[in-house]
Point group: C2
Chain length 146, copies 2
Amino acid sequence: MNYSIGQAAKKMGLTAHTLRYYEKEGLLPFVKKTSSGLRIFSEEDIGWLQMIECLKGTGMPLKGIKQYIDWFIEGDSPLQKRLDMFKQQKIKIEEQMRELKKHMEKINYKIAYYTEMVENGSDGVFERNKELAKERARLFGTPERK
Amino acid sequence: MNYSIGQAAKKMGLTAHTLRYYEKEGLLPFVKKTSSGLRIFSEEDIGWLQMIECLKGTGMPLKGIKQYIDWFIEGDSPLQKRLDMFKQQKIKIEEQMRELKKHMEKINYKIAYYTEMVENGSDGVFERNKELAKERARLFGTPERK
DNA sequence: ATAAATTTTAGAGTTTACTCTAAGTCAAGA
DNA sequence: TCTTGACTTAGAGTAAACTCTAAAATTTAT
């Protein structure tokens, strides 16, 4: 199945502008055109876009994604490079997951803290809730009150 | 313990430029200055910076972080707002984690695919590895070969 | 006391990833 | 055929988050 730029954009949740921009940046080297110049997005092109979204979603900048695509175009020889890139990316995602978990802990502490505050008034939270105080110490290292 | 801007920057893994920029954007309203104008970062300011880094790390733009800080400055009344913001942020983090996991699956597939390719040559991977083919179908929906 | 390092300010410049405009071309329905 | 909507291009504009510059002041080390 083929798509016009508008249809492809809708399918991917992007704008047509963005797709043209990606093409200009060399991220969509396989998109064909009609004799009159209209872009035709094939199912395969949609696959590329999904890959792009995946790498983008893990924080890879467009230049890095282009690198991957360029390696792909170069043919079979830099196979190892592509594999290495994905392995690298995997490590980055694992790092991100650890980061997110750490952040989540802090957010959870804040939620517990503010919930306590909203329920019991804003004073003496740490006097009344030793658990929260301990959690705070663990997360932030220093106590909030002298 | 107090820190100069350079020490604070080093401690946080940011540049002094960035700290001044944050201050200009209203993200560091509690940083004091000496009579001659040098900034003094207190332990509490470091705590704010850690909070900023935490929210930044979960994708909140600086303006959103400023909003939180402004609510804080306003005093106790918008307590519920702050709580709601953290709950919102928690939902966002959970979303991000799901996204990351989905991306991770795709990356893992690519790693399996390229590993197979590097080990066995680049042809007929799907003929030889039905498991990989099934995984691909699950992740991407469409087969790579007609 | 003096040299070197750090900090100050205002403001300009950069990068990334879009986002939009204008003027024109193309395609599909009434 | 006419009109409406989608598409084309080159290029300008935008927003976020830095990042850097320059000249002056301050602090620290010798």
